[in-house]
Amino acid sequence: MKDKRLLVSAIKNGTVIDHIPSEVLFKVVSILKLDTLDTMITIGNSLESGKLGKKGIIKLSEVFFHDDEINKIALVAPCAKLNIIRNYEVADKRVVAIPDEIVGIVKCVNPKCITNNEAVTTRFTVVSKAEVKLKCHYCEKITNQSNIQIT
């Protein structure tokens, strides 16, 4: 009998980002600017997951992230898991953690902020991690988790 499940193929060396909630998968792609990468990327979405119900997964061949590059995704996918693959084997497992400062990813929720009226890269201090609250470096207003919009 044919195996009709859709499988996301394995990679030899690289990084797998797993347990991404389906609804934020493309935000993660956006945050990591994956559209600018040249290497082989496999993206799967709405896959069955015991934990999440539905999940997304991104497999990046020959790509390894520094903590500060990958931790940004914790804003939208705080429970994402990273598997570092070498020679088809899981060499290391990591989790993501929200950094203390977010530069250039999130839009300020305040329409009267200078960043929404002129070409300025946004900058936020993370003032709360459990319930994500970002304080704009410019207008000092708080953007809540529910208002987070990726630029």
Binding site: K112, E118, V120, Y138
Partner: protein, 302 residues
């Protein structure tokens, strides 16, 4: 404090506030010293303000400095679409310091990052107005003899009022007990009350202006604006509940002073004006000395 920007009240430490207030006191005793001779200071007012602008210009002129600038961006290239970034870069080539007021929040912070000279924020939208806070503190210090352990009443629009938010941030460092008197729609936002919790400070909230007034050292009045109310009937109901009248001040401490950032509309009745508690016009006068202290500290001449 040389070359430091003053964008938010939190940019300065408690020690720096106290130094400014001490300097302001010196300037009040001796307001005509030509220590800013040779300095050119710009006042860039992208939105109108009579009091703040004239106060700064008096401070500069009184100390022998010269002013360049504008009081309405309609007459500048901003109306042609020139960005704030470009305007600031250009002006920082001309002046030794930039004082700016702008309708967008965060504009002064951006200016401080772009400018090669120090920036003093004279008001960025609904965000900060730190020189107002410093003159409020000077007024409190002058009339109460101290900044420590006071009971400060904040009345009116506590939700949108940048002056009360800023004053709260500064005075939290001095063990203040706050009393917040406002209609429900305009209560002090939770984030500010959280800051007080972090400092271990007590505060009280009430809708009734008459309650507890006898405890006040300072009553800081602000205007309840019609445009802040979604329900016009609710506005009609509350608009007169936060008007301070002379008779309400009987029983108050002798040393209690009434402050208001001005302009006042009807929230302080004119019958209060010649009461010994009325301090709001002196408060505005203090602005000149405090601004002298700020400018001379940042330029490094004092």
């Amino acid at each position: 404090m040389k070359n430091k920007n003053l964008v938010s009240i939190s940019d300065f430490t408690k020690e720096e506030y106290l130094r400014i207030l001490e300097l302001a006191s010196d300037f009040e005793k001796n307001p005509r010293q030509h220590i800013l001779n040779g300095y050119v200071i710009s006042t860039l007012f992208f939105e109108p303000s009579t009091r703040t602008r004239l106060s700064f210009e008096t401070a500069i002129n009184g100390l022998g400095g010269r002013v360049i600038g504008f009081s309405d961006s309609g007459a500048t290239s901003a109306s042609k679409g020139e960005t704030l970034h470009d305007t600031i870069k250009m002006v920082s080539n001309y002046a030794d310091l930039i004082i700016m007021r702008h309708p967008l929040e965060g504009s002064a912070r951006l200016a401080s990052e772009v400018s090669s000279v120090p920036v003093v924020n004279a008001g960025d939208g609904a965000n900060q107005h730190p020189t107002q806070t410093l003159l409020d503190m000077y007024s409190i210090l002058k009339t109460q003899g101290t900044l420590e352990n006071l009971k400060i009443f904040m009345v009116g629009d506590l939700k949108y009022g940048r002056t009360v938010h800023s004053l709260l941030q500064a005075m939290s460092k001095f063990n203040t007990t706050f009393f917040f008197i406002s209609p429900d729609e305009l209560k002090m936002p939770p984030d500010y009350k959280l800051q007080l919790d972090e400092f271990g400070l007590n505060y009280h909230e009430s809708k009734d202006l008459n309650e507890f007034l006898y405890e006040a050292d300072i009553i800081y009045m602000t205007r309840v604006q019609q445009e802040r109310f979604t329900d016009p009937i609710e506005y009609e109901r509350v608009k007169n509940a936060y008007i301070l009248r002379r008779e309400m001040l009987e029983g108050c401490k002798k040393t209690m002073k009434v402050l208001h950032p001005l302009p006042r509309v009807n929230e302080i009745h004119t019958d209060v004006d010649d009461s010994p508690h009325a301090y709001y016009f002196d408060q505005a006068r203090n602005g000149v000395f405090v601004r002298m202290a700020i400018l001379t500290s940042i330029l490094g001449v004092k």
